[in-house]
């Protein structure tokens, strides 16, 4: 955070602490080298932690990382920790307390603190992006003992992602929905799904009113066809325009993404989206530990918290690495086509130029980058 002309405000408390503990003469950067003077040193830091706990208190334990990372930390443990650190702060307990656990707690709290007051991802330098990603990975490790890989890969030049959907091919299997939920760590409790498959009657045109997007019978059903919708990654996205804090924006490769840590949860974007592209975490999202996809991207499928908006990102963690989004890969019929719109030789370009393509609600001027076509 050496950058002076930052566009947001940050408290540098965490940094200072780090510098202070780094200056400890014994060389261990993570505190606790055992001497009397050092136990005093820990005292200061622990006191800070306690102060933080006290000042943000309940709110932090609820909206912070405990709940993001699905670690049960009830109020009693939180309270215990608080009192423990207060005790240390008062100097009542100095050497008797386990150094390792206090170290970890300290680090956790420091990460929480820095994360609570970090800036908007969109405005971060690459260095800061790496910083926050490292913190999140470390935090996850501290809390669950497991490692994840989280990327902060930026948009590549000369890439603009586009998507095409073949209505005559889709058979309504919903394999894409399954793959999406698993890939993107969506809340299992509320059964959040980005993709909807609408079962439409032949001969009625694209009549969404009479379509069923929650069918459960053998498919394809006689006399019906299927049409999938999700976020269309509009090139002129109304959802981005309305966000009061720029927590959602259009990346240079055309992906419309959300910074889950910056979103204040006003749901204005949801009201502004004409395509039902956004999903809100009404309660704390939960994914069983065994089902968590550990290959994550900061803007993509990392764990969310309650009260924030999320949406399809064309699987940014996959697409920026050159893979197809999970839905494209899962579709057994080849109804879904994904690619780089700027590459004249790409398959998506061939589809746009040679098939009769159309988009939904084109009259709204949102310029979705999601085209439909038929054989």
């Amino acid at each position: 955070m050496s950058n002076n002309n930052k566009k947001w405000f940050s408290l540098n408390l965490g940094r200072k602490e780090k510098a202070a503990s780094g200056s400890c003469s014994c060389g261990k950067t993570s505190g606790g080298c055992g001497g009397a003077s050092n136990s005093h040193h820990i005292t200061d830091e622990e006191f800070d932690v306690a102060a933080i706990n006290a000042s943000i208190g309940e709110e932090r334990t609820k909206d912070g990382f405990e709940q993001v990372f699905d670690v049960k930390m009830d109020r009693r443990t939180a309270f215990k920790k608080l009192t423990a650190s207060l005790l240390i702060g008062a100097g009542a307990v100095s050497t008797s307390c386990s150094v390792i656990s206090s170290d970890e707690n300290k680090e956790k709290s420091q990460i929480d603190w820095e994360e609570q007051f970090k800036g908007n991802y969109k405005l971060m330098t690459d260095e800061e992006k790496n910083g926050t990603v490292d913190r999140l990975v470390r935090s996850y490790q501290l809390r669950t003992g497991k490692t994840i890989s989280m990327s902060s890969k930026n948009a590549e030049e000369d890439v603009l992602f586009g998507y095409a959907f073949n209505i005559s091919k889709c058979k309504g299997y919903m394999d894409c929905v399954n793959a999406c939920v698993e890939e993107n760590n969506q809340d299992r409790n509320s059964q959040m799904q980005y993709i909807r498959i609408h079962e439409m009657k032949d001969g009625k045109g694209f009549n969404f009113n009479e379509a069923d997007d929650n069918y459960y019978h053998e498919v394809p059903a006689e006399g019906h066809f299927y049409m999938g919708t999700q976020c269309f990654h509009c090139d002129n996205p109304p959802c981005v325009e309305v966000c009061p804090v720029q927590a959602t924006w259009r990346e240079d490769d055309g992906l419309v993404v959300v910074d889950y840590d910056w979103c204040v949860g006003c749901r204005y974007c949801m009201a502004a989206c004409p395509y039902d592209g956004r999903r809100f975490n009404w309660s704390k999202p939960e994914v069983p530990e065994a089902e968590i996809n550990h290959n994550q991207h900061y803007l993509g499928n990392r764990m969310r918290k309650k009260g924030v908006m999320e949406k399809c990102t064309f699987c940014v963690q996959r697409s920026r690495a050159g893979k197809n989004p999970a839905c494209v890969e899962a579709c057994p019929t080849g109804a879904r086509i994904f690619g780089n719109l700027l590459d004249p030789d790409s398959t998506i370009r061939w589809v746009l130029e040679n098939k009769k393509v159309f988009r939904l609600k084109e009259d709204l001027g949102t310029e979705p980058k999601f085209w439909y076509f038929m054989d």
Binding site: E59, D63, V242, V245, C266, A272, D276, F280, W282, V308
Partner: protein, 409 residues
């Protein structure tokens, strides 16, 4: 230094007044406190479990909170109907009423902000919205405009009365050169806050029910009916329970404002209904849902069919001078008009905007108990704030609250 001392004494004196009063007053404040505490308890549950404890879903993502917010912006804006004639046109009639009106505006604005905060998914990161500290998406997002104008309006409505009261407190006349520019500004501002709030919805091409050019003007008309109606009711109460003199003439003038606004509002309603139902398009479905129900889903019918007759009845009654000048009828009309517009511009505006959803799916919305609890709590907060403000203002205006020069602090 002297000013500071006077101000300190003002604060002390007003604290004194608001803690002393009749038994009824204490009972009233205790009731409000109780409801507020109840609301806070409900809000703590919402904080704990997230917004899933409300009736809102991905389909209907704004509900009771935003409905009340929208309505209250209108109430706040209506204070201007009293400010303009008094300060600018020097119409002496409104002089007493105006302080009450501005107090009402302040209370309404505080409620607005409370509703917005209650509606947020992440209140702990609300600092992201503070210009300078966070990132403020100005001028693109209408919500940032709204934050600006609401807070600006709150500032204006606090400073102007404060200045006047401050002077009166010391037994001096307020200098019109100081407060008139502010008053004129607040006139424009009041129109601004309501237009901007209308634009919040009007600018969404995704929601055809809102995306119509009449929304802004209709907001204004209904605000200038509902707001002064509330002021009349409040003045009536104050007249009854305190010695504060409010002349019949004043109330009659405000009643005139209410009447004209209600008439205009009705005309716009007719125009809107004509557009939706004469040549119904795909975009009229929300209106169909609101007035007749869609696919057997009709949760809003009882509400809207209460609101429309009340609205029409009140407007018709108010239109006749004889009836309007009868205070019993007037108060009744104001009351039903207030209720009608609360329904029409709260529930009746916000919820059908989301129904049917972008792909024609209908999920109905019913507020939960917790949501209602928080809402009641915020209304109690508003009433509480207003009572405090009004009590102090009345005290000063009546001269019972006066700066004593020799009082040492």
């Amino acid at each position: 230094m002297r000013r500071l001392r006077v101000f300190g004494s003002l604060v002390k004196d007003s604290l004194d007044t608001i803690t002393h009063g009749s038994k009824r007053y204490h009972l009233w404040m205790a009731l409000l406190t109780f409801v507020m505490l109840f609301g806070m308890y409900c809000y703590s549950i919402q904080l704990e479990h997230g917004l899933s404890v409300t009736g809102m879903t991905d389909r209907v993502s704004w509900g009771l909170y935003i409905s009340n917010f929208t309505f209250l912006v209108g109430v706040a804006a209506a204070a201007v109907m009293l400010v303009m004639p008094t300060y600018v046109l020097k119409d002496i009639d409104f002089k007493q009423a105006v302080l009450i009106g501005e107090g009402l505006a302040v209370a309404a604005l505080i409620m607005c902000l409370a509703f917005v905060v209650a509606d947020m998914g992440g209140p702990s990161v609300l600092w992201h919205m503070i210009p300078g500290i966070g990132v403020f998406n100005f001028p693109n997002s209408m919500l940032t405009w709204d934050v600006l104008v609401l807070n600006g309006y709150l500032f204006l409505n606090i400073t102007i009365p404060l200045y006047i009261l401050f002077r009166h407190y010391q037994g001096k006349e307020a200098n019109p050169k100081v407060y008139i520019p502010g008053a004129i500004l607040s006139v424009f501002w009041a129109v601004g806050i309501h237009l901007v709030t209308a634009f919040l919805y009007q600018g969404l091409q995704a929601r055809p029910f809102w995306n119509n050019a009449l929304l802004g003007p209709r907001f204004l008309a209904s605000a200038f009916a509902a707001g002064p109606a509330l002021i009349i009711l409040v003045l009536a109460i104050i007249r009854n329970f305190t010695e504060f003199k409010i002349q019949d003439k004043t109330i009659k003038k405000i009643a005139m404002v209410v009447t004209v606004a209600a008439q205009i509002n009705l005309i716009m309603l007719i125009s809107e209904l004509f557009k939706e139902f004469y040549a119904p398009t795909h975009h009229s479905e929300s209106a169909y849902y609101l007035f007749f129900g869609l696919d057997g889903k009709d949760a809003l019918l009882p509400w809207i069919w209460t609101a429309i007759p009340l609205n029409v009845l009140a407007t018709v009654l108010l239109t006749f001078h004889k009836l309007r000048n009868n205070f019993k009828v007037l108060f009744f009309c104001c009351f039903i008009l207030f209720i009608a517009i609360w329904i029409e511009k709260g529930f009746g505006l916000i919820v059908p905007g989301f129904i049917p959803g972008p792909y024609g799916k209908i999920a109905e919305y019913t507020p939960t108990g917790i949501e209602i609890g928080v809402t009641l709590g915020i209304w109690a907060l508003g009433a509480f704030v207003f009572t405090i403000l009004a009590k102090t203002a009345i005290g000063i205006e009546l001269g019972t609250l006066k700066y004593k020069k020799n009082e040492g602090i």
